[in-house]
Symmetry: C2
Subunit: 184 residues, 2 copies
């Protein structure tokens, strides 16, 4: 079967495609225009986005994600990509200077709409820490400064396969695969 993924972020496409491939689900990047709401809630953003897309001949999915840093009250959260483009990794590390508790959570929500108009959302969370320095060249966004619990590498030091084992997006995509295949 095929699945439309309404994003232009090549990294997201590659990560999700790799999870879905073993389930014989082919990801097709699709530039559907979608509504992107301001909200502190990633799930609300993803649901409203997928609601704004007309049903297609195959399921259509959107993914929204963010890095929530405990000591910064959840910042940059839903606005992670804007924050990455403006103050960047350097800015976030500056905000974390002298901060003892470096706990953070990456959250991903994949919302999907079936050809019949049914909507579901799958949420993946990964806890970890903000590193003192960026490490690694893979991935995108804040991957170089996020080290998930259970690993001594940052997301940017991992291959896509390895990142998918630990990552918020990998977990959400796995649940999507199960649901599309009728396993959950």
């Amino acid at each position: 079967m095929k699945l439309y993924l309404a994003t232009q972020n090549k990294h997201k496409i590659d990560e999700i495609a790799m999870i879905l491939a073993p389930y014989s689900i082919q990801v097709i990047a699709a530039p559907f225009k979608k509504l992107e709401l301001q909200s502190k809630n990633i799930e609300e953003i993803a649901l409203k986005a997928v609601e704004s897309i007309e049903p297609q001949d195959a399921p259509v999915a959107v993914e929204d994600s963010g890095l929530f840093i405990d000591e910064l009250n959840g910042f940059p959260g839903p606005y992670s990509s804007y924050v990455y483009e403006t103050i960047g990794i350097k800015g976030v590390l500056k905000l974390m200077q002298g901060v003892a508790d470096r706990s953070a959570t990456f959250i991903s929500v994949i919302a999907v709409k079936t050809p019949q108009g049914e909507i579901k959302a799958f949420k993946g969370e990964t806890k970890g820490t903000v590193t003192l320095q960026p490490r690694g060249k893979h991935g995108f966004g804040f991957d170089p400064i996020f080290q998930p619990l259970g690993s001594n590498k940052t997301f940017a030091e991992m291959s896509i396969e390895e990142k998918n084992i630990y990552s918020h997006r990998g977990k959400a995509a796995k649940m999507l695969a199960w649901w599309l295949r009728g396993i959950i």
Copy 2:
């Protein structure tokens, strides 16, 4: 005449009401549900918000605003209120530590929809600098660290009357008053 203002921010209501009063325009705070898009463009956010509100028996307005700091590539910009609630003034000052060029611009857009469904937007901009320390107790948000060009006070050291002379919101509200009264 009356004007509905779709906001729950008492400071915005007070500032705009004071500008409009001499034009015999009475501001009525109205909790209309409105769409709040993610966008780097304040004007787009305000226009989409007012578009999402049904025409009323009097003009209905929304105001969106943000502080754009040059050396932070416009951050916090359209997400100023989220950034205020998370990293706050302390976080922005930390990001500005050691930054020589402290230039910033406050932008306000007031978008209005008439009972006939006509839509207009008015943009006010105020250039100034990010101060080294917060000063003053008035206003809201980043007012304590923004000193407009032409004054040696921050917005938070000014009365509403004085802030309205200098402020982005005051300028946008003045244009709105002129337009509602057929002066422009």
